[in-house]
Symmetry: C2
Subunit: 226 residues, 2 copies
Protein backbone atom coordinates (compact mmCIF):
# COMPACT_ATOMS: atom_id res chain seq x y z
CA UNK A 1 0.00 0.00 0.00
CA UNK A 2 2.91 2.35 0.75
CA UNK A 3 3.65 2.86 -2.95
CA UNK A 4 0.05 3.48 -4.02
CA UNK A 5 -0.21 6.93 -5.62
CA UNK A 6 -2.20 9.34 -3.47
CA UNK A 7 -4.74 10.01 -6.21
CA UNK A 8 -5.90 6.40 -6.10
CA UNK A 9 -6.90 6.54 -2.48
CA UNK A 10 -8.75 9.83 -2.85
CA UNK A 11 -12.50 9.06 -2.74
CA UNK A 12 -14.29 9.32 -6.07
CA UNK A 13 -16.64 12.02 -4.81
CA UNK A 14 -13.73 14.20 -3.72
CA UNK A 15 -11.95 13.77 -7.04
CA UNK A 16 -15.10 14.76 -8.83
CA UNK A 17 -15.34 17.95 -6.75
CA UNK A 18 -11.70 18.77 -7.41
CA UNK A 19 -12.27 18.35 -11.18
CA UNK A 20 -15.34 20.55 -11.03
CA UNK A 21 -13.49 23.29 -9.15
CA UNK A 22 -10.60 23.15 -11.59
CA UNK A 23 -13.03 23.71 -14.46
CA UNK A 24 -14.70 26.62 -12.65
CA UNK A 25 -11.39 28.34 -11.91
CA UNK A 26 -10.16 27.76 -15.47
CA UNK A 27 -13.40 29.25 -16.84
CA UNK A 28 -12.84 32.45 -14.83
CA UNK A 29 -9.26 32.73 -16.10
CA UNK A 30 -10.29 32.10 -19.71
CA UNK A 31 -13.11 34.65 -19.61
CA UNK A 32 -10.88 37.28 -18.04
CA UNK A 33 -8.05 36.75 -20.51
CA UNK A 34 -9.76 35.66 -23.73
CA UNK A 35 -13.22 37.16 -23.43
CA UNK A 36 -16.49 35.40 -24.14
CA UNK A 37 -15.70 34.70 -27.80
CA UNK A 38 -12.39 33.02 -26.93
CA UNK A 39 -13.77 30.95 -24.08
CA UNK A 40 -14.72 27.54 -25.47
CA UNK A 41 -15.40 24.32 -23.57
CA UNK A 42 -12.28 22.82 -25.16
CA UNK A 43 -9.98 25.64 -24.08
CA UNK A 44 -11.38 25.62 -20.53
CA UNK A 45 -10.89 21.82 -20.28
CA UNK A 46 -7.31 22.15 -21.58
CA UNK A 47 -6.47 24.88 -19.06
CA UNK A 48 -7.99 22.85 -16.26
CA UNK A 49 -6.03 19.76 -17.30
CA UNK A 50 -9.28 17.82 -17.59
CA UNK A 51 -10.37 15.66 -20.51
CA UNK A 52 -13.16 16.97 -22.73
CA UNK A 53 -15.28 13.97 -21.78
CA UNK A 54 -14.89 14.65 -18.08
CA UNK A 55 -15.70 18.34 -18.55
CA UNK A 56 -18.87 17.42 -20.49
CA UNK A 57 -19.79 15.15 -17.60
CA UNK A 58 -19.77 18.14 -15.24
CA UNK A 59 -21.21 20.82 -17.50
CA UNK A 60 -23.30 20.22 -20.59
CA UNK A 61 -22.93 23.68 -22.11
CA UNK A 62 -20.57 26.62 -22.01
CA UNK A 63 -23.37 28.86 -20.68
CA UNK A 64 -23.86 26.47 -17.78
CA UNK A 65 -20.15 26.30 -17.00
CA UNK A 66 -19.47 30.05 -17.06
CA UNK A 67 -22.57 30.85 -15.02
CA UNK A 68 -21.50 28.32 -12.39
CA UNK A 69 -17.98 29.77 -12.50
CA UNK A 70 -19.11 33.30 -11.66
CA UNK A 71 -21.26 31.99 -8.83
CA UNK A 72 -18.39 29.87 -7.50
CA UNK A 73 -15.94 32.77 -7.82
CA UNK A 74 -18.28 35.16 -6.03
CA UNK A 75 -18.90 32.71 -3.17
CA UNK A 76 -15.14 32.20 -2.81
CA UNK A 77 -14.68 35.99 -2.77
CA UNK A 78 -17.38 36.45 -0.13
CA UNK A 79 -15.79 33.75 2.03
CA UNK A 80 -12.43 35.44 1.66
CA UNK A 81 -13.94 38.77 2.74
CA UNK A 82 -15.64 37.10 5.69
CA UNK A 83 -12.37 35.43 6.73
CA UNK A 84 -10.38 38.65 6.47
CA UNK A 85 -13.07 40.49 8.41
CA UNK A 86 -13.04 37.87 11.15
CA UNK A 87 -9.31 38.18 11.72
CA UNK A 88 -9.66 41.81 12.66
CA UNK A 89 -9.36 43.72 9.43
CA UNK A 90 -12.40 45.78 10.44
CA UNK A 91 -11.69 48.18 13.28
CA UNK A 92 -14.68 49.64 15.04
CA UNK A 93 -13.44 53.08 14.19
CA UNK A 94 -13.79 53.97 10.52
CA UNK A 95 -15.55 50.69 9.95
CA UNK A 96 -16.98 51.85 6.60
CA UNK A 97 -13.53 52.62 5.23
CA UNK A 98 -12.26 49.18 6.21
CA UNK A 99 -15.30 47.46 4.67
CA UNK A 100 -14.96 49.42 1.42
CA UNK A 101 -11.28 48.59 1.34
CA UNK A 102 -12.08 44.88 1.73
CA UNK A 103 -14.74 44.99 -1.02
CA UNK A 104 -12.40 46.69 -3.47
CA UNK A 105 -9.34 44.58 -2.67
CA UNK A 106 -11.28 41.36 -3.03
CA UNK A 107 -12.52 42.50 -6.46
CA UNK A 108 -9.02 43.15 -7.76
CA UNK A 109 -8.61 39.77 -9.40
CA UNK A 110 -9.76 38.09 -12.57
CA UNK A 111 -13.31 37.59 -11.25
CA UNK A 112 -14.36 41.17 -11.96
CA UNK A 113 -12.90 41.00 -15.47
CA UNK A 114 -14.51 37.60 -16.13
CA UNK A 115 -17.92 38.84 -14.99
CA UNK A 116 -17.52 42.03 -17.00
CA UNK A 117 -16.73 40.06 -20.16
CA UNK A 118 -19.76 37.88 -19.55
CA UNK A 119 -22.12 40.76 -18.79
CA UNK A 120 -21.02 42.64 -21.92
CA UNK A 121 -21.57 39.50 -24.01
CA UNK A 122 -24.92 38.88 -22.31
CA UNK A 123 -26.14 42.35 -23.24
CA UNK A 124 -26.33 41.28 -26.89
CA UNK A 125 -26.86 37.50 -26.50
CA UNK A 126 -30.44 36.67 -25.56
CA UNK A 127 -29.74 33.10 -24.37
CA UNK A 128 -26.75 34.05 -22.25
CA UNK A 129 -28.66 36.99 -20.78
CA UNK A 130 -31.47 34.64 -19.70
CA UNK A 131 -28.86 32.65 -17.72
CA UNK A 132 -27.19 35.70 -16.23
CA UNK A 133 -30.25 37.57 -14.94
CA UNK A 134 -31.12 35.08 -12.17
CA UNK A 135 -27.39 34.74 -11.36
CA UNK A 136 -27.13 38.51 -11.01
CA UNK A 137 -30.06 38.55 -8.56
CA UNK A 138 -28.69 35.71 -6.42
CA UNK A 139 -25.16 37.06 -6.31
CA UNK A 140 -26.39 40.62 -5.76
CA UNK A 141 -28.44 39.58 -2.73
CA UNK A 142 -25.49 37.70 -1.19
CA UNK A 143 -23.05 40.55 -1.67
CA UNK A 144 -25.60 43.00 -0.27
CA UNK A 145 -26.24 40.85 2.80
CA UNK A 146 -22.56 40.46 3.61
CA UNK A 147 -21.88 44.18 3.12
CA UNK A 148 -24.73 45.08 5.50
CA UNK A 149 -23.43 42.55 8.03
CA UNK A 150 -19.86 43.85 7.88
CA UNK A 151 -21.01 47.46 8.18
CA UNK A 152 -23.13 46.42 11.14
CA UNK A 153 -26.05 48.55 10.02
CA UNK A 154 -29.79 48.38 10.56
CA UNK A 155 -31.49 47.85 7.20
CA UNK A 156 -34.84 48.90 8.62
CA UNK A 157 -33.55 52.41 8.99
CA UNK A 158 -34.61 54.62 6.04
CA UNK A 159 -31.94 55.04 3.40
CA UNK A 160 -29.66 52.26 4.68
CA UNK A 161 -30.67 49.67 2.08
CA UNK A 162 -30.14 52.22 -0.70
CA UNK A 163 -26.81 53.35 0.76
CA UNK A 164 -25.55 49.77 0.55
CA UNK A 165 -26.75 49.38 -3.03
CA UNK A 166 -25.06 52.68 -3.87
CA UNK A 167 -21.88 51.36 -2.24
CA UNK A 168 -21.93 48.28 -4.45
CA UNK A 169 -22.50 50.42 -7.55
CA UNK A 170 -19.63 52.66 -6.47
CA UNK A 171 -17.27 49.70 -6.09
CA UNK A 172 -18.21 48.42 -9.55
CA UNK A 173 -17.73 51.88 -11.07
CA UNK A 174 -14.38 52.24 -9.32
CA UNK A 175 -13.25 48.91 -10.75
CA UNK A 176 -14.25 50.14 -14.22
CA UNK A 177 -12.25 53.34 -13.69
CA UNK A 178 -9.22 51.15 -12.88
CA UNK A 179 -9.70 48.79 -15.80
CA UNK A 180 -7.10 50.23 -18.17
CA UNK A 181 -4.63 51.22 -15.48
CA UNK A 182 -4.84 51.33 -11.72
CA UNK A 183 -5.27 54.73 -10.06
CA UNK A 184 -4.42 53.78 -6.46
CA UNK A 185 -4.28 57.34 -5.12
CA UNK A 186 -7.56 58.35 -6.74
CA UNK A 187 -9.24 55.17 -5.52
CA UNK A 188 -8.02 55.70 -1.99
CA UNK A 189 -9.25 59.29 -1.87
CA UNK A 190 -12.63 58.44 -3.40
CA UNK A 191 -13.12 55.55 -0.98
CA UNK A 192 -12.14 57.62 2.04
CA UNK A 193 -14.61 60.34 1.12
CA UNK A 194 -17.29 57.75 0.35
CA UNK A 195 -16.69 56.11 3.74
CA UNK A 196 -17.34 59.43 5.49
CA UNK A 197 -20.53 59.95 3.50
CA UNK A 198 -21.63 56.40 4.21
CA UNK A 199 -20.91 56.75 7.92
CA UNK A 200 -23.11 59.82 8.02
CA UNK A 201 -25.89 58.04 6.15
CA UNK A 202 -26.03 54.72 7.99
CA UNK A 203 -25.34 55.86 11.54
CA UNK A 204 -28.23 55.36 13.96
CA UNK A 205 -30.34 58.54 13.81
CA UNK A 206 -28.54 59.48 10.61
CA UNK A 207 -29.09 63.00 9.42
CA UNK A 208 -28.65 61.91 5.80
CA UNK A 209 -31.48 59.55 5.00
CA UNK A 210 -34.42 59.26 2.66
CA UNK A 211 -36.77 60.03 5.51
CA UNK A 212 -35.61 63.60 5.12
CA UNK A 213 -37.21 63.97 1.67
CA UNK A 214 -40.83 64.83 2.36
CA UNK A 215 -43.27 63.70 -0.33
CA UNK A 216 -44.36 67.25 -0.98
CA UNK A 217 -40.82 68.31 -1.87
CA UNK A 218 -40.49 65.36 -4.28
CA UNK A 219 -43.58 66.43 -6.22
CA UNK A 220 -42.29 69.96 -6.27
CA UNK A 221 -39.00 68.84 -7.84
CA UNK A 222 -40.79 66.69 -10.41
CA UNK A 223 -43.05 69.53 -11.50
CA UNK A 224 -40.04 71.73 -12.06
CA UNK A 225 -38.46 68.82 -13.95
CA UNK A 226 -38.24 70.31 -17.42
CA UNK B 1 -29.95 76.69 -60.84
CA UNK B 2 -33.37 75.84 -59.42
CA UNK B 3 -32.97 72.18 -60.36
CA UNK B 4 -29.43 71.81 -58.99
CA UNK B 5 -29.45 69.05 -56.31
CA UNK B 6 -28.85 70.50 -52.86
CA UNK B 7 -25.81 68.29 -52.26
CA UNK B 8 -23.94 69.98 -55.11
CA UNK B 9 -24.20 73.42 -53.55
CA UNK B 10 -23.12 72.24 -50.08
CA UNK B 11 -19.56 73.48 -49.55
CA UNK B 12 -16.91 70.78 -49.72
CA UNK B 13 -15.74 71.45 -46.17
CA UNK B 14 -19.24 70.98 -44.81
CA UNK B 15 -19.70 67.71 -46.72
CA UNK B 16 -16.43 66.46 -45.32
CA UNK B 17 -17.59 67.23 -41.77
CA UNK B 18 -20.89 65.47 -42.38
CA UNK B 19 -19.07 62.36 -43.67
CA UNK B 20 -16.77 62.40 -40.66
CA UNK B 21 -19.69 62.64 -38.22
CA UNK B 22 -21.53 59.84 -39.99
CA UNK B 23 -18.49 57.61 -39.55
CA UNK B 24 -18.18 58.54 -35.86
CA UNK B 25 -21.85 57.81 -35.15
CA UNK B 26 -21.71 54.55 -37.09
CA UNK B 27 -18.62 53.50 -35.12
CA UNK B 28 -20.49 54.00 -31.82
CA UNK B 29 -23.43 51.95 -33.07
CA UNK B 30 -21.17 49.16 -34.36
CA UNK B 31 -19.18 48.95 -31.14
CA UNK B 32 -22.33 48.88 -29.02
CA UNK B 33 -24.01 46.21 -31.11
CA UNK B 34 -21.16 44.10 -32.49
CA UNK B 35 -18.41 44.60 -29.93
CA UNK B 36 -14.78 45.35 -30.69
CA UNK B 37 -14.17 42.13 -32.63
CA UNK B 38 -17.11 42.78 -34.96
CA UNK B 39 -16.30 46.44 -35.54
CA UNK B 40 -14.21 46.67 -38.73
CA UNK B 41 -13.49 49.72 -40.87
CA UNK B 42 -15.54 48.13 -43.68
CA UNK B 43 -18.62 47.55 -41.54
CA UNK B 44 -18.47 51.07 -40.10
CA UNK B 45 -18.17 52.59 -43.60
CA UNK B 46 -21.10 50.48 -44.84
CA UNK B 47 -23.29 51.55 -41.93
CA UNK B 48 -22.35 55.16 -42.45
CA UNK B 49 -23.13 54.89 -46.16
CA UNK B 50 -19.62 56.11 -46.93
CA UNK B 51 -17.20 54.53 -49.41
CA UNK B 52 -14.20 52.68 -47.97
CA UNK B 53 -11.91 55.14 -49.74
CA UNK B 54 -13.62 58.12 -48.14
CA UNK B 55 -13.53 56.51 -44.71
CA UNK B 56 -9.79 55.84 -45.09
CA UNK B 57 -9.33 59.50 -46.01
CA UNK B 58 -10.79 60.51 -42.61
CA UNK B 59 -9.34 57.80 -40.39
CA UNK B 60 -6.28 55.71 -41.16
CA UNK B 61 -6.89 52.97 -38.60
CA UNK B 62 -9.75 51.44 -36.68
CA UNK B 63 -8.12 52.46 -33.37
CA UNK B 64 -8.06 56.08 -34.53
CA UNK B 65 -11.69 55.99 -35.65
CA UNK B 66 -13.13 54.39 -32.50
CA UNK B 67 -11.11 56.64 -30.21
CA UNK B 68 -12.39 59.71 -32.07
CA UNK B 69 -15.92 58.26 -31.92
CA UNK B 70 -15.94 57.96 -28.12
CA UNK B 71 -14.58 61.49 -27.79
CA UNK B 72 -17.17 62.82 -30.26
CA UNK B 73 -19.98 60.91 -28.52
CA UNK B 74 -18.94 62.18 -25.09
CA UNK B 75 -18.76 65.80 -26.27
CA UNK B 76 -22.23 65.46 -27.84
CA UNK B 77 -23.47 63.98 -24.56
CA UNK B 78 -21.96 66.81 -22.51
CA UNK B 79 -23.52 69.39 -24.83
CA UNK B 80 -26.88 67.67 -24.49
CA UNK B 81 -26.58 67.75 -20.69
CA UNK B 82 -25.60 71.42 -20.79
CA UNK B 83 -28.57 72.21 -23.04
CA UNK B 84 -31.03 70.34 -20.85
CA UNK B 85 -29.62 72.01 -17.76
CA UNK B 86 -29.94 75.44 -19.33
CA UNK B 87 -33.65 74.98 -20.08
CA UNK B 88 -34.46 74.56 -16.43
CA UNK B 89 -34.06 70.85 -15.74
CA UNK B 90 -32.10 71.74 -12.61
CA UNK B 91 -34.28 73.19 -9.87
CA UNK B 92 -32.47 74.98 -7.09
CA UNK B 93 -34.09 72.59 -4.64
CA UNK B 94 -32.65 69.06 -4.79
CA UNK B 95 -30.10 70.20 -7.33
CA UNK B 96 -27.95 67.10 -6.78
CA UNK B 97 -30.83 64.78 -7.59
CA UNK B 98 -31.55 66.65 -10.83
CA UNK B 99 -27.87 66.60 -11.85
CA UNK B 100 -27.58 62.87 -11.13
CA UNK B 101 -30.74 62.25 -13.10
CA UNK B 102 -29.31 64.17 -16.06
CA UNK B 103 -26.00 62.26 -15.90
CA UNK B 104 -27.74 58.90 -15.84
CA UNK B 105 -30.35 59.68 -18.49
CA UNK B 106 -27.75 61.00 -20.88
CA UNK B 107 -25.74 57.77 -20.44
CA UNK B 108 -28.66 55.56 -21.36
CA UNK B 109 -27.77 55.21 -25.00
CA UNK B 110 -25.31 53.26 -27.08
CA UNK B 111 -22.36 55.44 -26.02
CA UNK B 112 -21.94 53.73 -22.64
CA UNK B 113 -22.13 50.29 -24.27
CA UNK B 114 -19.68 51.31 -27.01
CA UNK B 115 -17.19 52.67 -24.47
CA UNK B 116 -17.60 49.57 -22.30
CA UNK B 117 -16.89 47.27 -25.26
CA UNK B 118 -13.82 49.32 -26.06
CA UNK B 119 -12.53 49.48 -22.48
CA UNK B 120 -12.95 45.72 -22.04
CA UNK B 121 -11.08 45.11 -25.31
CA UNK B 122 -8.41 47.63 -24.29
CA UNK B 123 -7.76 45.78 -21.05
CA UNK B 124 -6.16 42.93 -23.01
CA UNK B 125 -4.96 44.80 -26.13
CA UNK B 126 -1.78 46.77 -25.48
CA UNK B 127 -2.01 49.00 -28.56
CA UNK B 128 -5.65 49.87 -28.05
CA UNK B 129 -5.02 50.55 -24.36
CA UNK B 130 -2.28 53.02 -25.25
CA UNK B 131 -4.86 54.96 -27.32
CA UNK B 132 -7.56 54.79 -24.67
CA UNK B 133 -5.58 55.95 -21.63
CA UNK B 134 -5.14 59.58 -22.79
CA UNK B 135 -8.74 59.58 -24.07
CA UNK B 136 -9.93 58.44 -20.65
CA UNK B 137 -8.06 61.30 -18.97
CA UNK B 138 -9.36 63.96 -21.35
CA UNK B 139 -12.95 62.77 -21.23
CA UNK B 140 -12.81 62.23 -17.46
CA UNK B 141 -11.65 65.81 -16.88
CA UNK B 142 -14.43 67.24 -19.06
CA UNK B 143 -17.17 65.19 -17.42
CA UNK B 144 -15.81 66.11 -13.98
CA UNK B 145 -15.73 69.83 -14.84
CA UNK B 146 -19.30 69.86 -16.15
CA UNK B 147 -20.60 67.92 -13.15
CA UNK B 148 -18.95 70.36 -10.73
CA UNK B 149 -20.38 73.28 -12.70
CA UNK B 150 -23.92 71.87 -12.71
CA UNK B 151 -23.76 71.06 -9.00
CA UNK B 152 -22.54 74.58 -8.40
CA UNK B 153 -19.96 73.45 -5.86
CA UNK B 154 -16.67 74.84 -4.65
CA UNK B 155 -13.90 72.41 -5.56
CA UNK B 156 -11.51 74.07 -3.12
CA UNK B 157 -13.59 72.80 -0.25
CA UNK B 158 -12.17 69.55 1.22
CA UNK B 159 -13.86 66.42 -0.05
CA UNK B 160 -15.74 68.10 -2.90
CA UNK B 161 -13.40 66.93 -5.67
CA UNK B 162 -13.55 63.36 -4.34
CA UNK B 163 -17.34 63.51 -3.96
CA UNK B 164 -17.64 64.35 -7.65
CA UNK B 165 -15.28 61.55 -8.65
CA UNK B 166 -17.31 59.17 -6.45
CA UNK B 167 -20.46 60.39 -8.21
CA UNK B 168 -19.01 59.56 -11.61
CA UNK B 169 -17.98 56.11 -10.38
CA UNK B 170 -21.46 55.59 -8.97
CA UNK B 171 -23.08 56.51 -12.29
CA UNK B 172 -20.82 54.08 -14.15
CA UNK B 173 -21.56 51.32 -11.63
CA UNK B 174 -25.27 52.00 -11.88
CA UNK B 175 -25.10 51.71 -15.67
CA UNK B 176 -23.35 48.35 -15.23
CA UNK B 177 -26.08 47.19 -12.86
CA UNK B 178 -28.64 48.06 -15.56
CA UNK B 179 -26.72 46.39 -18.39
CA UNK B 180 -28.68 43.13 -18.62
CA UNK B 181 -32.04 44.65 -17.75
CA UNK B 182 -33.09 48.05 -16.47
CA UNK B 183 -33.98 48.38 -12.78
CA UNK B 184 -35.70 51.78 -12.88
CA UNK B 185 -37.07 51.65 -9.33
CA UNK B 186 -33.77 50.56 -7.83
CA UNK B 187 -31.89 53.21 -9.81
CA UNK B 188 -34.26 55.93 -8.70
CA UNK B 189 -33.98 54.99 -5.03
CA UNK B 190 -30.18 54.68 -5.16
CA UNK B 191 -29.86 58.05 -6.89
CA UNK B 192 -32.20 59.77 -4.46
CA UNK B 193 -30.21 58.48 -1.48
CA UNK B 194 -26.92 59.37 -3.17
CA UNK B 195 -28.23 62.89 -3.86
CA UNK B 196 -28.92 63.36 -0.13
CA UNK B 197 -25.45 62.10 0.76
CA UNK B 198 -23.89 64.30 -1.89
CA UNK B 199 -25.83 67.37 -0.73
CA UNK B 200 -24.53 66.81 2.78
CA UNK B 201 -20.95 66.41 1.53
CA UNK B 202 -20.68 69.32 -0.89
CA UNK B 203 -22.72 71.94 0.96
CA UNK B 204 -20.73 74.96 2.16
CA UNK B 205 -19.51 74.09 5.68
CA UNK B 206 -20.33 70.45 4.99
CA UNK B 207 -20.25 68.20 8.01
CA UNK B 208 -19.22 65.26 5.81
CA UNK B 209 -15.83 66.02 4.38
CA UNK B 210 -12.32 64.69 4.37
CA UNK B 211 -11.27 67.44 6.71
CA UNK B 212 -13.00 65.41 9.38
CA UNK B 213 -10.51 62.52 9.17
CA UNK B 214 -7.62 63.56 11.41
CA UNK B 215 -4.31 61.99 10.42
CA UNK B 216 -4.05 60.29 13.77
CA UNK B 217 -7.27 58.36 13.21
CA UNK B 218 -6.06 57.20 9.80
CA UNK B 219 -2.84 55.78 11.25
CA UNK B 220 -4.87 54.12 13.95
CA UNK B 221 -7.02 52.33 11.34
CA UNK B 222 -3.98 51.25 9.36
CA UNK B 223 -2.28 49.77 12.39
CA UNK B 224 -5.31 47.71 13.20
CA UNK B 225 -5.41 46.72 9.54
CA UNK B 226 -4.70 42.99 9.84
Amino acid sequence: MASTPISVVVPKQHRSRVTRERLLRAAIQCLAELGWAGTTMGIIADRAGVSRGASQHHFHTRDELVTAAIEYGTRARLEEIRREASIGAIPRRSRSEAVLDLLVRSSENSLFMAALQLWVAGASDERLRAQLIPLESRVGREVHRLTAELLGVDENQPGVHESIEATLDLVRGLMLANLLRPHPMRSQRVLRQWALMLDAAVAPNARVSMRRTPKKAKTHVRNQGT
